[in-house]
Symmetry: C2
Subunit: 502 residues, 2 copies
């Protein structure tokens, strides 16, 4: 057994030993327990489950000080950001509690028996039910919002699925603390044993994805690691859905009119967005299309100035630091790229990385430029006119987001036609690094940003962990209450004989 | 190039040469054309697309006589069944036209900007958009309802996706005729060139699934073939969703009270369902749990009598015939299985198969008994009491359907708890071979019946070919009309600030 340790990225030193790596046999036992918990959790019903979700939120908030301090020590992300992250996760749990109570997510449909042009139709009633135990991989970059607490855990629990959570090696102490707090709260709220489980170490992830009791997995991380796990999920004797959020370039387009109007503000905002959290956001703007000319030059100057004023930042772990250095080296060596500005020198202890912004033009577009470089860096790409821009955009890979900075007078319909096929969220006059928790959020775009037709943030994320069941000519007494003619207290929005009834 | 021929299953003889096999280069050209058509088709909008769907239905009905005759010649399924199948496909196209006009399938959501406990929320608006070109594999057993016309084609077109259709070698002339009729109607209705394409031959399927322009595929067929294609879809540089409907046992449980009440009627109905269309339904009841005792014996006698009165039937093709013979041989050789009755002798020309029903009890349950045997056969499994039944049900693989025959006094909640995890549709006092087209239909269950959390029949099948896009702080003018504050004529059901507005 190998120890799982907590490392301070500011020093690179081990601070404490958190746990032993979970063995394959332990994963098996936990997965089987989750399988038993699944049936019990579902039977407890929606209002009870909403209560569990709210209890988790309350408990996390009650432990805020300890959790934020631990996460700060393990990630160097700072208390302001981490407090917002925790608030976000608690808000998300509560919003899911509301959604579970409302029940629209069940997609309840009733078709009464009747004649159709294709013959007699029986009584059919359909709704979504929990898929079973779900595996969740913590992400390095959001210790409190895409990890033990976070969108995957919250949406799986909301759906009625027990969750096995694989801790990230970047913040195992934070994971342990959050898990202890959440497990205790879940138990107090009456959740069955096995509703939550925490796994550590390199063996646990693959063992979890391969386990027959697991029915789906959610992942936020690298393209390489995510693809390997996705392939594993697809190659199982019984393939399961693997919801991966993998790699994203997040292009930004600035129109000439927008640059003319507010070059400095956009430039400053861009630098802030690209270096937020040491550039370790999956929605970091990685390629920015800047118009040639004086306004574009002003914008570039503003970005350069902002980068020049930055200190060195701390990567979350040694792996990210090393891969950032590789990425920067590849860009420095790239004949089409020029360093525009750098932040403070990265020498000194810990996992320091130097903010670096590059410039280029559309002729240089290639795989190096369109690949994600995780960390505080971005590339400003000059374009000469709309045709030049259009051609470059067509060559981009899929992203989580695409951003447009426009002026009121701009007609961007043709650019939008391209971007709509390249991203899952299109922003206007903002920056993509914020991903609000909302009903209408979409965090997921074309490959390689994700491999899914779903979102991992926002209320519709719940659909990933549900499967439909239809009952045909069922006696009222055996139907789920939500599908009975008289649902009583379990009323939910339904489509009845083709008509939506909210 | 190898010729694609049309064979009459009643004789096993080639009747005509239909086409040349589609080459990989031709698949490439058609897929690229579909990619261009995708953008055009989407721009035409929902009402226009509904018009195309209705035009397809009208055209198929206008050509009914020719289509049914051709399908009859190629499948030996008979005019009554084939007429119903065509009516079904036309009804489905029209129901999708209605659904496309209504627009609830878009899952339109609007969250206006506002404050949340996790900070300020921007204006976010989300809806589903077409995924791009879709590949559809025709099924051997439904030449008119799961082939060129059918649920996959209809739902993909309804979603706004061009469709590449791989003809099945069992009925290429029917496929060609349906395609010609549909393509002409689509063109007359204003569909862009490339909206529909038809491919023939063994190379075309894999080439289609691997083509970068393809964004999803729908398949109904064997576990072996489907799994190979699913693996191919998952292993692409850009993995795509593969919606496979593969193999299904469709267990039936008859309670002692139901057997006491109506043993003969159930037995007769079962035999009819198991041999309908020569037992070539994906929802054919393949394993029937019959209570021990006099009532169960009466039921068995009724099944035996009905099988004994049947003539030999025609398999759709030589492959199905050969695999049926293998399956029957394995069952005959099985020490736990006894032949209860057989239908007419299968000697003589063509792809004849002999209806055969077996009996066994729960102690014999194994992989032979739980595997699908495509053709006019089923197994009656005696059970002694509820505990015996319960144990056997736990050992079953996932199915499209599970059926219960019960009496009014029966409490079947514990059996239902098991069956709900084993199937996508639970039927009461009926037979699973009918799959009504309806909003509430669910045709898809746990592995190996499907590999998807979706249905391939019914209105919600459309979700498979859509992906979500969110617009953040977008000017009204660039939003899809459905997401504008004033949608005008494009009004659809929406969720606005968390509240459903139908």
């Amino acid at each position: 057994m190998t120890a799982v340790t907590s490392i301070d990225p500011r020093t690179g030193q081990v601070v404490e030993t958190v746990a032993e790596q979970t063995t394959v046999a332990e994963v098996d036992a936990l997965a089987r327990q989750a399988e038993i918990a699944a049936a019990r959790l579902e039977r407890l019903g929606r209002p009870f489950r909403a209560g569990i979700l709210r209890a988790l939120a309350d408990a996390l908030e009650a432990d805020r000080e300890t959790i934020v301090a631990l996460a700060g020590r393990e990630t160097a992300l700072g208390p302001q950001r981490l407090n917002v992250e925790l608030s976000r996760s608690c808000y998300q749990l509560r919003l899911f509690a509301d959604a579970v109570e409302e029940g629209g997510y069940l997609e309840a449909i009733i078709d009464h028996a009747g004649d159709t042009p294709a013959g007699a139709r029986p009584d059919l009633r359909r709704m979504l039910v929990p898929i079973g135990p779900v595996g969740v991989f913590c992400a390095s970059n959001f210790p409190l919002a895409f990890s033990v607490p976070g969108g995957d855990t919250a949406s799986a629990l909301a759906a009625g699925c027990p969750v096995l959570i694989k801790a990230h090696s970047s913040h195992p102490a934070t994971a342990r603390r959050c898990f202890e707090v959440m497990q205790a709260a879940a138990t107090r709220a009456g959740a069955p044993e096995g509703t939550l489980a925490l796994l550590y170490g390199h063996e646990a992830g693959p063992a979890m994805v391969r386990h027959p009791a697991l029915k789906a997995a959610g992942f936020t991380g690298s393209l390489h690691g995510g693809r390997a796990l996705a392939d594993m999920a697809a190659a199982r004797p019984e393939p399961i859905p693997f919801y991966g959020e993998l790699s994203s370039l997040n292009p930004v387009v600035i129109t000439p009119a927008a640059a003319a109007e507010r070059a400095e503000a956009i430039g400053k905002g861009l630098a802030g967005s690209a270096t937020l959290g040491a550039g370790q956001f999956c929605t970091k703007p990685g390629l920015v299309f800047v118009p040639v000319g004086a306004d574009g030059d002003r914008l570039r100057d503003a970005v350069a100035k902002a980068f020049g004023e930055l200190d060195a930042q701390f990567a979350l772990n040694g792996g990210i630091q090393a891969s950032y250095l590789d990425g920067i080296e590849a860009r420095v060596d790239h004949p089409g790229l020029t360093v525009l500005a750098t932040g403070g020198d990265a020498s000194g202890e810990g996992f320091r990385v130097r903010p670096t912004v590059f410039t280029t033009d559309t002729r240089s577009l290639d795989d190096v430029i369109t690949s994600e470089c995780f960390g505080p860096t971005t590339i400003l790409m000059s374009y000469s006119d709309e045709q030049d821009l259009h051609g470059a955009l067509l060559g981009l890979p899929g992203s989580l987001t695409a951003t447009l900075h426009i002026a009121a007078s701009d007609d961007v319909s043709s650019v939008l036609d391209v971007l709509r096929h390249k991203a899952g969220r299109i922003l206007f006059n903002g920056f993509p690094t914020g991903v609000a928790v909302a009903w209408a959020q979409q965090h997921g775009g074309p490959w390689p940003s994700t491999n899914t037709l779903h979102t991992s943030v926002g209320m519709t994320a719940i659909r990933r962990f549900l499967r439909p069941v239809a009952w045909q000519d069922a006696p009222q007494s055996v139907l789920p209450a939500e599908l009975r003619d008289d649902p009583g207290g379990a009323a939910v929005p339904r489509r009845v004989d083709g008509v939506l009834v909210p």
